[in-house]
Symmetry: D2
Subunit: 398 residues, 4 copies
């Protein structure tokens, strides 16, 4: 096996997506699973100098007091995913990853996320101290593993939305905010700042703020770092971005689009808090108007149903008007295993981002829009326009 040269650092390192990604990467390294679900493994990307599976090593931050292997067992038991053999074969490596997980920070994560951490978690660090702590952890990870680069990927629970009016517009304004005792930037942004400031790559897989504000994007460009986001598109919204362009292309008038999502994993529990849910609903809803060019009546619900565990089930009811005023209906039910849909995209993003680094690209990686519900740096939400963008980028000379 090759010596790893690129680090993947998960924020939320023992959550469902991180656990599935860790098992998946290990199984790929041992050739115990095939590359189904991995976009980067498609023939159209075969000419890209993508890192191999053996090039990666995983570490991360986590606020909860559990172990990676127990979380894997829980996913297996509650959601009936992973073969028993795969799990057992990965146990040793999961424990090694476990040894590279450090305590996460809790600045501005809100009440519901705070409750996930142990009651006796150490006092909250001020933003600047928190960033220092994160950077020390990242630097240690890079040094001990002699890594060329570290890709920090935010997989943590969704934070409450931060009003756009207070986003910093420049790096200097960001620095001013960080010194304030009531700094409104949430943990996801502190992680982004810490990583980008070290020239590392930052990817925001969640609807949280992360590197979204222009002031943090400026830092990325100044440090020749890259970032991408936000909110990975894995299920219902993916279908919206595929189906809405069909209605548009046929000039069918979407009168209403109702989407009800139910699932029972930790992500869902956090989204049961209305302030956290607001971030998600907005991210799932706004694309219809962008694609259709008008705003149909929409309804998006996300509810935590314990028994479903990781099985995100979505029912969408699309009521549309055709020729001569004829109302018609399309309904779909999506039954996807959320963590297993997300995990390969995490690995894809790490691979594509590495190619961008080798090509010397800096700032926001807009060509990754097809992976996100709220793609940074572009308002094109139609899925096949987005995949074409990725393919066009890939076709450039390396």
């Amino acid at each position: 096996m090759t010596t790893p040269r690129i680090g993947i650092w998960f924020i939320g390192a023992r959550g469902g997506v991180a656990t599935s990604s860790a098992i998946g990467l290990t199984a790929l390294q041992h050739q115990q699973t095939d590359e189904t679900g991995l976009v980067s493994a498609l023939p159209v990307f075969s000419q890209l100098p993508l890192p191999g599976w053996g090039d990666f090593v995983i570490g991360g931050h986590e606020i909860r007091d559990v172990t990676l292997y127990d979380e894997a067992l829980r996913l297996n038991r509650e959601s009936r995913v992973f073969d028993a053999e795969t799990l057992i074969a990965c146990r040793e490596e999961l424990n090694q990853i476990e040894s590279r997980i450090r305590s996460g920070i809790l600045w501005n994560v809100g009440h519901t996320i705070r409750k996930l951490a142990p009651e006796d978690a150490p006092d909250q660090l001020e933003p600047s101290a928190a960033i220092e702590q994160i950077q020390a952890d990242l630097a240690e990870f890079r040094a001990q593993n002699q890594l060329e680069n570290v890709i920090v990927i935010n997989l943590a629970s969704t934070e409450a939305p931060i009003d756009e009016s207070i986003w910093p517009h420049s790096w200097s304004q960001t620095q001013t905010l960080l010194r304030q005792a009531d700094c409104p930037l949430p943990a996801s942004s502190l992680y982004a700042i810490a990583a980008l400031d070290l020239g590392m790559t930052y990817i925001n897989f969640t609807p949280s703020l992360g590197a979204t504000p222009p002031g943090i994007d400026q830092l990325a460009r100044e440090r020749s770092a890259r970032h991408a986001g936000r909110d990975a598109k894995t299920g219902e919204t993916l279908l919206k971005s595929v189906l809405a362009p069909m209605f548009a292309a046929r000039n069918l008038d979407v009168m209403s689009w109702v989407g009800h999502n139910i699932f029972g994993n930790l992500d869902g529990k956090v989204l049961d808090d209305p302030s956290n849910k607001a971030s998600k609903v907005k991210s799932k809803d706004h694309l219809l108007e962008a694609i259709l060019g008008y705003a149909p009546q929409t309804l998006v619900s996300i509810e935590h149903i314990e028994s479903l565990a990781d099985w995100k089930t979505a029912w969408d009811h699309i009521h549309f008007r055709g020729f001569l005023n004829t109302p018609m209906t399309l309904q779909f039910t999506w039954q996807g295993c959320d963590s297993l849909l997300a995990a390969p995209l995490v690995l894809d993003l790490a691979r594509f981002a590495e190619v961008a680094r080798q090509r010397g690209e800096v700032g926001c990686m807009t060509f990754l829009g097809c992976f996100f519900k709220s793609p940074l740096g572009t308002n094109n939400q139609a899925f096949f326009d987005q995949t074409r963008l990725l393919e066009t980028w890939a076709a450039q000379p390396n």
Copy 2:
């Protein structure tokens, strides 16, 4: 109102699609309805020199002994489509169209379609005589209405499939076949030959053979005529051509794709004959392998359920395998009114075909692939690739 200059000639002129198209065109001419459902009315085509609604006049062939207005009333009663006002306002014009409908031919249409015609329908004409009769009807229509061009659109019931081994490869081979007493070419091909031989445009909206054989395509090119086909993509297959590329783009392995279609209109009654149904099922099924690059297990059923009338209801169950061997499911239910989905596409095809004529294009109009389940002249079945093709064609200088 402008004087019409282009004729639309329906084969199956009193069927559900033709009736809906006739009502729709009339309502558009009177500005009693908006352009919802019409692809050609999209902003992206606004620079094309498309004919206006007033430029068209309708005629056609029909084998059944009914009236257009009665068929409209039946659609209204059984399927609850059209406003009462629209129907009443169109009555006069429907009766004028009625006066331009001639008796259709029955060569090789098969037992089930033959039964739709009155028992005392005149003796079957031999192929050459049938073509002569069709041409006389078309020429009369063109002369009486002083038309620049006539667009013959096949909307008749689906014929049984004709084995590809006996398709004629050249126009001369076609002529030989036509002289045989047991000529295997079906009615749809005789209509195509009649139209193209007069330099008119032929569009095959159904899975029947029509102008598909190379020998008939050659005739089209020799006469500087155009044709397109086949089998309009209005519902379940449209969704397949939109969703299958999504699974491909995400490298998700489609293990099985089951599609059950139920509906109760005349089209469905004819498809209840297994030999007629075979044409349709093949057309609805083959695209998955073309898009995915491998053949998942598929199942397509089409059943005639009287009570549904024109409401085609399709249930599709897609079983796919994601990362780490995880099986997941997408189901959809489509409830579309078949004739009303088809009618605007009929008018779109007529408009786009006219632009092609003005541009001097001849032969198979491959740029119309997005309208068809079995697009002639191309194997690209992915819907958004097909729409891009149409848009690229439209962007050419006129």
Copy 3:
């Protein structure tokens, strides 16, 4: 035609259910429609001395400033219900019913319902004056039509729930409440009191309070009057009361039951107010525990989606656990036309209640439980237990 002898008095006389009931009764009187949808027309009830369709005459109260015939046209246009012929044939009689509609009262109906009435509606009457006014209207209706009995049926918009702790326990306590300036009883209860005090029958088709409190039930018994309720069971909840006993009978463990309801009629608009919606959700939700004997996780949503008009669409997702801990799923989609499902039950209730009157029964008619989501006087929610109760009652000697 026979002379009517029994009055049906609708509260909410121009709403969708009342309008559909009026059209339905008229069509039945003229034999323009069959008895599909009418429970009382089933063979099992053929021995009952049920009133004929010609025995009924309709009047009512309404707060909105519309006309019955316009509401019928709107239902036809927006929801594609009723034949045009039926509508035209009923026009004259609808106008006669119109002439028997009086202005309703607005005491404690809440902000959202208040807004439905014209802004310049007369000042709100105090409870006692309101009851007097209602009784004057009812007495006039009875006198002018020389009626044996009047059946008052509450079809008005759902009021906000009234805390059970303040329900009056006796008729004298009720009277005390009525004299208070801040009397908490809502309009539905004032109508109930007015009707029962005159010895008339009161039926509560809605989740509003109506005759539910014991203090009003006592009045009914003292005046030898009858009442029944509440909240008619027409769609999703009917299915719950049919399917939940199946899971119970097979000892399958319902882990979660999620029900999402969308529709676009006036009822839905009022339910968009969270306080009004609370009454409905409670009524739709509580039966599962009563039937199953334990409380699965449940979720009920009701949302107003304009484009659906009267077409109530419900998606239910039932996640259950079978043998050896195996999780399985049942989903259903119900697409019912709410007013047309309700209207025949309105007429059924009037007929059965008349038989009860002839039999001399007084107080709460518990045998009508199969018609209601929250049946008064019984906690048996299993649908087939409830229908057996009705059939047993019907089998008694008249």
Copy 4:
């Protein structure tokens, strides 16, 4: 643990249902699972002298050359059922059951089932010799385990239907048939005759003929034996028998009922043979007319989709007509694990049949109708009527 006193003998002893029943019984004996899914464990039956789980011991006949434990592993792998712990804990006992499995007979099972047996299976025995062989196996099982009774349960693949005109009407006529070289009775009937002739209980869990003919029922009564059947009601048909009475009770006119079933287990593979499928479709379809009192248009399909393994997925589309001719729709999707739905019913039937034996009942056990799609000895197909029958039987003094 108690010494077993009652034998359960499976025909098809290594199939999915038998394997799941064996694992389930073992897990119940070891208290490794709860009684979810077991009807006999409901409180309403707590007063019955039901055998305990430790009272049973399993043996059986099988024609395929596999092992029980491998089949269990396959179910686990393909359908993700059973916990790994449960499987491992049961391994020893499954191997003991394995040692009690004997070679089954192949008389008249048809081509498709014959192919499941090894090519070199011994020459087919004539009916009388086959019965002798079966009886020797059963007698050995009874003797070696010192059993009070043996309950033979047919879980084998569905045979092709046998025309009712050749069913024997008396035991003597049956005997005549058995002596004929071309005896038309299938294997399922030979097993039934063998068991009943020994005074044992026979239960037909499949649509095959078994003990259905009056001539075999007569044998049962003469030998003081019991039988019941046929075709266990586990999924889609269970729902039909629950939902159809609802439409009847509300006088809603079912216009069409379409049911599409897809699944991928061995049962499905055998049903892919049209002659075997005919038995099943008839059994799933006929109940609607029995319940509704009229025959709506129906369609039932059963298709083998490999990837679904044991997960039977059914989509039903019910199109019904309500008041004033209004068409409405109910759709459901059932996703059940076929073997795990069936297994507890197998154990329930064994327990109830034992109580009947202790009560001295003989012949057809009609009170078990709620378990079957084609209940012998009754035409009542409404599920809650059937459960009431069972409860009434249970309430009799023991």
